[in-house]
Symmetry: C2
Subunit: 490 residues, 2 copies
Amino acid sequence: MVMDKEGVSSLEWRINLPNGTSETLVPRSGSICRMWLGLKCHVEGILLKARRFLEKAWKLAVDEPSKVIHCVKVGVALSLVSLFYYMRPLYDGFGGNALWAVMTVVVVFEYSVGATLSKSVNRATATFIAGLLGVGVHWLATQSGEKLEPIILGFSVFLFASAATFSRFIPSVKARFDYGAMIFILTFSFVSVSGYRIDRLFELSYQRFFTIAIGTSLCIMISIIIFPIWAGSDLHNLIYHNLEKLSDSLQGSVAEYFRDDGTESKEDCDSKVQGYKCVLNSKATEESMANFASWEPPHGRFNFGHPWKQYLKIGEAIRSCACCIETLNSFVYSEVEAPAHLKEHLKHLCMTLSSTSSNVLNELAVTLKSMKKSLKIDFLVEEMNFAVQELQKTLKTLPNHHIMRPPLTTQTTDDAPSGGPITEPIVPTLIEILPLATLVSLLIENAARIEGIADAVDELAGLAEFQPAIDKKTNQSQQAKNPSADNQDH
Amino acid sequence: MVMDKEGVSSLEWRINLPNGTSETLVPRSGSICRMWLGLKCHVEGILLKARRFLEKAWKLAVDEPSKVIHCVKVGVALSLVSLFYYMRPLYDGFGGNALWAVMTVVVVFEYSVGATLSKSVNRATATFIAGLLGVGVHWLATQSGEKLEPIILGFSVFLFASAATFSRFIPSVKARFDYGAMIFILTFSFVSVSGYRIDRLFELSYQRFFTIAIGTSLCIMISIIIFPIWAGSDLHNLIYHNLEKLSDSLQGSVAEYFRDDGTESKEDCDSKVQGYKCVLNSKATEESMANFASWEPPHGRFNFGHPWKQYLKIGEAIRSCACCIETLNSFVYSEVEAPAHLKEHLKHLCMTLSSTSSNVLNELAVTLKSMKKSLKIDFLVEEMNFAVQELQKTLKTLPNHHIMRPPLTTQTTDDAPSGGPITEPIVPTLIEILPLATLVSLLIENAARIEGIADAVDELAGLAEFQPAIDKKTNQSQQAKNPSADNQDH
């Protein structure tokens, strides 16, 4: 063995064959070694994958602790319902069917209160209706004789199951009662099929309904009492975060376009500029959140009948704006360079427009965040529109901008003659100004779309009866003039 | 009664009050009448709503008969599984637990084969693993004494339920094993909790697994054998329909912009132009379809390991294009009118670019539809790029377009002087040409994005090994030259 290990590179094993020749034996340890290495690589690959997966999971847990809390809540609910099951009296009453309470907790407990409530109500109502209907159909079947009984039962299962399945395709039903329709089929088949066998139909229906009621009420209580996660608040936060992202993206893009070539530091603002991307695909999330939110009771600053649907309109307006910014972004890194004097000439106006637009977006985000009617928003929108008009006014004089050069530009004057008759080279060709013109045009279009968002937010403020925000400065000066006004605030 | 009815308008009932005055009694029939009318209105409203709901359902059924077929399939599966339940031997074997087979069918049977398979595999695998684990934990608990037993069981339920719930938040798990994680929790709680009560744990696990296997295999068989609805085919169709919609939208928008004012017939092409809108929000649908498609066995023209993920890349490219068209659409109905001679000058070039772009999109749709590598696509992309270059070339000479008026325009020449020195009025201001310039710019940008789609489709053709399409003309001429080639086709 020692020789085999040590001499593997110098020794050679030969075997004499019957025909007189001899063959070299290839040392086996080579292939074993290779197999071992392969296996090692494989195991290491799996370990690496597992490690990456765990790292990802850990990052998720750290980033969103509310998800970890939800997991703990599910664990608590299941342990509690198991306790119910351990308790003798309940077990004696329900027997094996007490397991339905455990099942209900697993199936019904969702991340947000709204989703849990929606599933609970769906499950309980559908079970009740289907149970009643099942008992009714079973009674009808038993009345019609032994021969007809299985036919009636089978046909009714077929009919109701098909109809309920079809109803799940209808958008209005799918949005709110999809789960209910499934549970309806489930319970109806349960009751009508088992009714044929066991002669304790009412008891079964009652037990099923009661155990489900225990499970759902436990879930609802836990999800509302321990660190409740409201779909409504989440939707609210999502919408104003999206507004902030858009604002950053817009300002970042325009700043990037007009950046002097000397200061190329793309990376640091790149992630901010890309913010619009996750706004573009938020429709499905928003819709499900709004649906769940409508199931939730009043909570925090959200009263009963809070206009959740209006958030979808705001979301739509935000996406339309994001679409515009997405297109605008393609022209930011355009290779065609606009004439420097023209770019410099428009730089200030475009930057003003983008910053006033961003201001409007930020103020809308603040309005939503604080749920107070903004006092500044009309002024900011005016300011944005004024910037649009200023830009348009300047565009009216361009490309003959030497006619009226605004005093605000700080450019050097040697790249464009400051007077005299028009000479051919000063009029830029369309191809030169195309990216700049498009950028300007999209900025103006974007301002119009931002006004759409402002209108939608204003509508929300009206529907949800936002109170006007208290202007600190006005308030302070009023207090100085009239100290008794202090009482009104408290 | 007769008098009361007939004299209601002429008779008056008076009552003498103790203070000597008399009061007229207002006939009650007025309020009853009002109540009756109110009730009637209410009932009619409900009936109208119900009628509208039914009409919508009917329209859905007529538009998508495959959904009706799915409903019938669910009905058939449930009736069949009920038959199983009626059969004495099975019932004797499983008792009440045979109901799990019914339950499995209701829960697992989904619209597409892929979704059904995904849920079936998830359910069966998760049940198997959780059953084994549950029995193991239960054995461990019984070994550790009567006092520790409930603690170990409770803690294990808490731990596994929390961990599995958390895993459902990790995107890679959520996409493929969300349902499995839920069933894992369900079965594990089932087995470990009921194990504490009933002393027939193995039997329970075995019965649960076996009934679930019956249910899932029935679902899989029915969904594959009777009119199978493949998620993969649906995704494939969705993608090429989206390409066709984009093509229509693009061509419609550009045609609308350059339409002569005389022929205002917006409505008839409006629905075509709006086609891009449903493309914009298709991401979620595409992702779930691609996920289900990856569970499906080879079917039709789709082999094992068909690159479904590539469809998501194509979808992404299509959405980016749709975003561009959405922005472009805002400028189609712009109020600012570009100078007529400039518009006329660019009309032909823009129309050419939009029609060549549409041709590329249509050809890509055909490539996907036929799953044959297009012979024309390179030529069409070239043509599109040539149209872009032509447009850019013309833009280089604009707004001084009189220098080189291309011979292909058919405009009348009296709106622009055909020669001589530049006079001030001929140079349009930027504001006048802004919408037109933006439209042109977006068309060029769109062409670049369409090339992105073409690349993604080309990659798909490589990955899925599309065969080259047979050019009919070449084929026919070859056959004429060499009749023996005929045999190769058959």
